[in-house]
C-alpha cells in the first residue's frame, strides 16, 4: 500500500514551493486524523484533494492554514515555518501575530461561506483592507468594488449576506479572500453547500482564477471540475495520501483498490 512516506516528494522546481508540509500528523483525542502527510505546492499549481467523507481532507487544509495546530511535522508557507518555532531546541507555539504574518499569503474559502452577517457584501470585502492594510474608506471601497466585479457581483455591493443566494455568498467570500492579494487560495468544498443550479457560477469564478495563474488547493467532490482544472489530484483515505498524480492518470488508471472503489461509487451516484 503506498503511503505518503513512500511517495517520492515532487521534483524540485526552479521556484520554491509556496506551501510545503513534511510529515504532518494530527490527532483529535485518540483519533488519528492525519498520518505523516507530505505536501508541496508550486507557484500557479492547482491541486484538488478528493477522498471519502472523514478521510481528513478538511483537517489537512486547516492544518496547512494553522486553523488547526498540527501535532508533528512542519508546514512552511513561502519558506517560513508556520505556527511553531524552535526555542533552545524545544518546539513551541508562536504568537498569534506571528501566525498571521506567516500565513498572510494564504486566502481561504469555506464550505459554509462564513460571511459576516452584520456587514454588507462590500464591507465583507473591505473590512480587512481597512483594518489590516490601513486603507481609507474610499480607497478600500474602490478596491472592494473591483474585487466584487471580478466575481460578477458589483451590483450587490450594498446587500447584506442574508439577501444573497448561496452562490452569491460564496462569490463574495472569494472576493473577500482575494482582496488581501493572497499568493495561494485554499478552498474547502466551496460548492458542497450550494443548490445544484448555483454550483456552476462558483466553479466558473474558480476556473478563471486558475487560468489567471492563482495557486490553489481545492478540497472538492466535483470530479469533473477536478479533471478539467487540476494539475494534480490527491486522493486521501483514513488520514493518508493514498495516491496522487495528474487527473488523467488518477481518474483513468487508479492504482489502489480504494481509489477504484471511491471512483466507482462516485460514478454510480452520478450517472443515473
Amino acid at each position: 500500500m503506498p503511503t505518503a512516506d513512500t511517495l517520492a516528494p515532487p521534483a524540485p522546481t526552479q521556484q520554491r514551493a509556496i506551501v510545503e508540509a513534511h510529515g504532518i500528523s494530527k490527532q483529535f483525542g485518540d483519533l488519528e486524523v492525519l498520518t505523516n502527510i507530505d505536501f508541496s505546492l508550486a507557484p500557479s499549481e492547482v491541486v484538488c484533494v478528493i477522498g471519502p467523507s472523514g478521510s481528513g481532507k478538511s483537517t489537512l487544509l486547516r492544518c496547512l492554514a494553522f486553523l488547526e495546530p498540527y501535532d508533528h511535522g512542519s508546514v512552511y508557507i513561502d519558506g517560513q515555518l508556520l505556527g511553531y518555532e524552535d526555542r533552545s531546541g524545544q518546539r513551541v507555539r508562536t504568537s498569534e501575530k506571528r501566525v498571521d504574518e506567516v500565513r498572510a499569503p494564504v486566502g481561504m474559502v469555506f464550505q459554509h461561506f462564513h460571511l459576516w452577517p452584520h456587514r454588507t457584501a462590500l464591507e465583507n470585502v473591505t473590512e480587512a483592507l481597512r483594518l489590516v492594510n490601513g486603507l481609507s474608506r474610499r480607497q478600500a471601497d474602490t478596491e472592494g468594488i473591483a474585487m466584487l466585479e471580478q466575481v460578477g457581483l458589483a451590483d450587490r455591493a450594498g446587500h447584506f449576506p442574508e439577501s444573497l443566494s448561496g452562490g452569491q455568498k460564496q462569490r463574495v467570500a472569494i472576493a473577500r479572500a482575494l482582496a488581501m492579494k493572497p499568493r495561494v487560495m485554499f478552498f474547502d468544498e466551496p460548492t458542497s453547500a450550494l443548490d445544484p443550479e448555483l454550483v456552476g457560477e462558483v466553479l466558473d469564478v474558480m476556473k478563471k482564477l486558475a487560468a489567471d495563474g492563482m495557486t490553489m488547493v481545492i478540497v472538492t467532490h466535483e470530479m469533473g471540475f477536478a479533471a478539467k482544472v487540476a494539475d494534480r489530484v490527491i486522493f486521501m483515505d483514513q488520514g493518508r495520501v493514498v495516491e496522487s498524480g495528474p487527473p488523467a492518470t488518477l481518474f483513468r488508471q487508479p492504482k489502489s483498490e480504494r481509489l477504484q472503489q471511491f471512483l466507482n461509487t462516485w460514478r454510480e451516484r452520478h450517472i443515473d
Binding site: A65, L67, E96, K97, D100, R103, A104, V106, G107, M108, F110, H112, H114, L115, W116, P117, H118, E127, A128, L131, V132, G158, F160, E162, S163, A173, R176, A177, A179, M180
Partner: protein
C-alpha cells in the same frame, strides 16, 4: 399617593437621582468590565478561564445584600476609606460585571466559529476580530437579556439603603416614618421605579427594532 408625590417631590427626586447615578454608573462600568470578563471566560487558556469563572461564581452565587455589607465593612479593614455611595457603586459594578459577562459569554458562543476563522484568515487580529466582528453581533443578540440585567440592577439598587446611601428607597422610608403614610409613600416610590424601568424598556425595544432593521437592510 399623589399628595406624597406633590409634597415631597424635591426629596423624592433627589433620592431618584442618586438611584439613577448609582445604577447607571454600575451598569456602564459593568458593561466594560463584563465584556472583558466575557473574553476571559471564552479564552483558550485554562489559566485565564479558571479565575474568571471563579469570579463569576462568587458574584452570581451570593446575595447582593451580603456583597454590599462585605464590601462596606471589608474596605476599611484593609485601610481603604470610601464613601457609602462609592461602596454602593463598587459593589453593584462588581455584581453586574459577573451577570453581564455571562450574558456576553453566551452571546459570543453563538457566533459561528467559521466567521472568526474567516476574519483570522483575512489577517484581522484577534482583538480586532472581537471588536469588529464578534461584539457588534453579540450586542444585537444580547440586548433583551441585557435590558433585564439593567432593570434588575435598578431594582437591586434599593438595597444600598442598608449602607446609608440616601437613594429613592431610603428617602421613602424617611418620608413614611415622618408622615405616618407608609402605604402612600411606598406606592409613590413604586411609581417612580416603574416609570424609569418603562422608559428603559422602551429605549431597549427601540434599539432592538433599529438594529434588527440594520441587519436586514442597512
Amino acid at each position: 399617593m399623589f399628595e406624597i408625590l406633590l409634597n415631597h417631590y424635591p426629596v423624592l427626586l433627589k433620592g431618584l437621582t442618586t438611584t439613577l447615578v448609582v445604577s447607571l454608573s454600575a451598569i456602564a462600568l459593568g458593561l466594560v468590565l463584563g465584556v472583558l470578563l466575557a473574553f476571559g471566560l471564552t479564552s483558550r487558556y485554562h489559566l485565564v478561564r479558571w479565575p474568571c469563572g471563579l469570579y463569576r461564581s462568587f458574584w452570581r452565587g451570593t446575595p447582593i445584600l451580603l456583597q454590599l455589607l462585605l464590601v462596606y465593612y471589608l474596605l476599611p479593614e484593609i485601610g481603604i476609606e470610601i464613601a457609602p455611595i462609592s461602596a454602593a457603586i463598587l459593589t453593584l459594578t462588581l455584581n453586574t460585571t459577573a451577570f453581564q459577562a455571562e450574558i456576553f459569554r453566551s452571546g459570543i458562543s453563538h457566533i459561528p466559529a467559521g466567521q472568526i476563522e474567516a476574519a483570522r484568515m483575512a489577517g484581522i487580529s484577534a482583538w480586532q476580530t472581537r471588536r469588529r466582528i464578534i461584539m457588534p453581533q453579540v450586542f444585537r443578540l444580547t440586548l433583551p437579556p441585557l435590558t433585564n440585567e439593567i432593570i434588575t440592577i435598578l431594582k437591586n439598587s434599593s438595597l444600598i439603603s442598608v449602607i446609608a446611601v440616601t437613594e429613592l428607597m431610603r428617602v421613602s422610608e424617611q418620608i413614611a416614618s415622618r408622615t405616618f403614610q407608609p402605604l402612600e409613600t411606598y406606592l409613590a416610590a413604586a411609581v417612580l421605579y416603574l416609570a424609569v424601568n418603562l422608559v428603559l424598556a422602551r429605549i431597549s425595544a427601540y434599539l432592538e427594532r433599529r438594529m434588527a432593521g440594520g441587519l436586514a437592510t442597512e
